[in-house]
């Protein structure tokens, strides 16, 4: 079945809310507005206001409420209109959701999904264009999921809702309308499992979320030049499926990591470090990272384009690791 990323998320939540009445959706505009990006279309009609809760614009307040509800045995899904606004809920996410299990010596748990779009769209300015996954990945106690395709979005969101831990599920505004094949009927995708999205033997490209689509496009362009890139989508950043990445690197000997987030202390730095530790002897070239630039996102189109990875930069990085052999 060919559906959009948006509909895949809608199906995942709908199926899980039908399956388990402990699951509820809470956030700004999730009810009658149907979600700022229409992800919860039809929800308030099907599940009622008791399970689809429109909130005031108070991210700390409603995220904290969801953490408390999870401690008491419910399974909240928090929709952040964007992860930029989630910064206001960082205290609840970092100091409460991530730590309550540990601080209580395993007595309490926080089965919670916090989802919404991250990364840049088109010219939304500095406060609405951030890729903050590295912040969350740094915190023990959280799991971070960054699906790129409708199939992964649906299967992973269902797994996230069933998982007994607090989960950060980062979507992308520019992915909502993209389409892809989704299996008919019930399925889930395990958290912490990467997938090889394109087979190749010349170089490994690791890319996730929106950047996966960019990497796949760049790989096709490279193929026309006779370079077969293998594209690995971690899908989950924490726990990271290092094994699949390392297996690919052992085959290709070369690694390019593409991420939209800021370069300094970004996810790619962590992935590179892990690969160096596990597969240094298999590398034929230094790992090259393609990242967002270390600037607040500018509004002007040419400046914004300059701040975000593009196909040309991915191709150049691939050539760099090939030529330095």
């Amino acid at each position: 079945m060919l559906i959009s990323y948006r509909d895949a998320l809608n199906q995942a939540m709908r199926e899980e809310m039908r399956r388990d009445d402990r699951v509820f959706l809470i956030g700004e505009e999730v009810g009658y507005y149907q979600g700022a990006f229409k992800v919860s279309k039809g929800f308030v009609e099907e599940f009622g206001r008791g399970r689809v809760l429109d909130t005031p614009i108070t991210e700390a307040g409603f995220t904290g409420l969801a953490v408390g509800a999870a401690m008491a045995g419910l399974r909240p899904i928090v929709e952040l209109m964007t992860f930029n606004f989630g910064i206001l809920a960082m205290d609840q996410i970092v100091n409460n959701a991530a730590k309550i299990r540990y601080m209580s010596g395993g007595q309490l748990s926080v089965p919670l999904v916090i989802r919404g779009p991250g990364s840049a769209a088109h010219q939304l300015g500095a406060q609405h264009s951030q890729s903050l996954e590295a912040w969350f990945c740094h915190v023990p106690g959280l799991k971070i999921i960054v699906p790129a395709t409708p199939r992964d979005a649906k299967g992973l969101l269902k797994s996230a809702i069933r998982d007994p831990n607090p989960i950060i599920f980062i979507e992308a505004q520019l992915l909502y309308s993209t389409k892809g094949e989704v299996p008919e009927g019930e399925y889930t995708i395990p958290i912490g499992q990467a997938e090889i999205k394109r087979q190749g033997d010349a170089v490994t490209i690791v890319a996730y979320s929106k950047m996966l689509l960019l990497a796949l496009e760049a790989a096709e362009e490279l193929a026309s030049e006779g370079i077969q890139a293998e594209v690995v989508d971690p899908r989950t950043l924490k726990p990271l499926d290092l094994e699949t990445i390392v297996e690919s690197v052992k085959k290709t000997g070369r690694l390019v990591i593409v991420e939209e987030g800021w370069r300094f202390a970004g996810l790619g730095a962590q992935i590179a470090d892990s690969v160096y530790s596990s597969a240094f002897d298999y590398l034929d070239a230094q790992i090259v990272r393609v990242t967002g630039e270390d600037v607040p996102m500018p509004y002007s189109r040419p400046l914004e384009d300059a701040a975000i990875p593009d196909r040309a930069r991915v191709r150049a990085a691939v050539k760099q690791v090939l030529h330095s052999a």
């Binding site: 409420l65 401690m71 010596g105 023990p140």
Partner: protein, 321 residues
């Protein structure tokens, strides 16, 4: 208010008092480390309020949480062991003084980011409503949390969604070393802050355990039968420093002020009431002192004799496997 009733309130306050005095001694002996925030002087609030709820009602607190945990019925030995960082502590030594949790008693924890646990309290209350249970939530915090943004976000949601949560503000007049007069605009009536959100609110003498319990019985009954939030301002005073690194009066309040406030000691007050009513004698108090002394001595012994956690548990409990 019969004899046994009043003596049992006294006994619980005495337990918290003696437990914390011994904790301070253990801190001086380096058996306890980190932050240790003592509740001494404020015992009537936890004891009076928690006496008005059921066992399955939720309690959640801030970092000055020993009193609430003991009042909810937790084993003093396991609480002391937690302060010692021992494997037998309530949280297996992973929480410490500020993060006591006893899930078996629905004591949902002590939290050390000021204002950060008020939203959690609304979530517990939301869950009770969602699950169609008639539990109420008692959420304790100091007046220092009142101006924080998260508190007001919690007040608004609780009022908006009629959540059965009772916010108990322990107004000891100092946010660490900052007096309320320098920290909160319109400080003279904290209950007004809650009323501004449409929450009913009352002020009570937090040194009078009977007054606290009497008010709380009415409020708990109201909140349980007609779900809605409530705000209680309990006026009190912290007899000790903010933490162990802060002397009893510090640089920010005078010795004379502390001495004057100590005359309103909730234990002394209740003892006088009991004596005046002829409901107890010196012998009763001597017996309680003896009993409680033994409980606390046992708690310290249990903590002392318990093992530290093994290095192998370091990575356990980060995630639910």
């Amino acid at each position: 208010m019969d004899r046994d009733d009043l003596l049992s309130l006294y006994r619980l306050m005495l337990l918290i008092r003696r437990f914390e005095e011994r904790s301070a001694e253990m801190y001086a002996l380096a058996k306890i480390a980190g932050f240790l925030h003592l509740y001494i002087g404020e015992e009537a609030i936890a004891v009076g309020a928690i006496a008005a709820i059921r066992e399955d009602d939720y309690v959640i607190s801030a970092y000055r949480d020993h009193g609430h945990c003991l009042a909810k019925g937790s084993d003093p030995g396991r609480v002391m062991a937690e302060l010692f960082g021992k494997a037998t502590g309530l949280c297996k030594g992973k929480g410490g003084s500020m993060h006591l949790v006893d899930a078996t008693r629905n004591f949902m924890g002590g939290y050390a980011i000021v204002g950060g646990h008020l939203p959690l309290a609304t979530g517990l209350a939301f869950a009770a409503t969602y699950q169609k249970r008639d539990q109420v939530v008692l959420c304790f915090f100091g007046e220092g949390a009142v101006p924080s943004g998260q508190s007001h976000e919690a007040f608004n949601l609780a009022a908006l969604w009629k959540l059965p949560v009772i916010f108990v503000c322990e107004n000891n007049r100092y946010a660490m070393g900052t007096p309320i007069t320098r920290g909160i605009a319109l400080y003279s009536d904290l209950a007004d802050k809650a009323r501004a959100h449409g929450i009913q609110a009352e002020t009570v003498d937090g040194m009078d355990v009977v007054a606290v319990r009497t008010l709380m019985q009415t409020v708990v009954n109201k909140v349980r039968t007609d779900p809605q939030p409530y705000f209680i301002e309990a006026e009190t005073y912290r007899f000790m420093g903010h933490s162990m690194s802060d002397p009893a009066h510090g640089h920010y309040r005078t010795k004379e002020e502390v001495e004057a406030e100590r005359k309103k000691d909730p234990l002394v007050l209740l003892r006088q009431t009991i004596m005046q009513k002829g409901l107890g004698s010196e012998a009763d108090f001597k017996r309680l002192e003896q009993e409680v002394g033994e409980v606390v001595a046992d708690a310290v012994r249990f903590a002392e004799e318990s093992p530290f956690p093994d290095r192998s548990v370091l990575e356990e409990d980060v995630y639910v496997e």
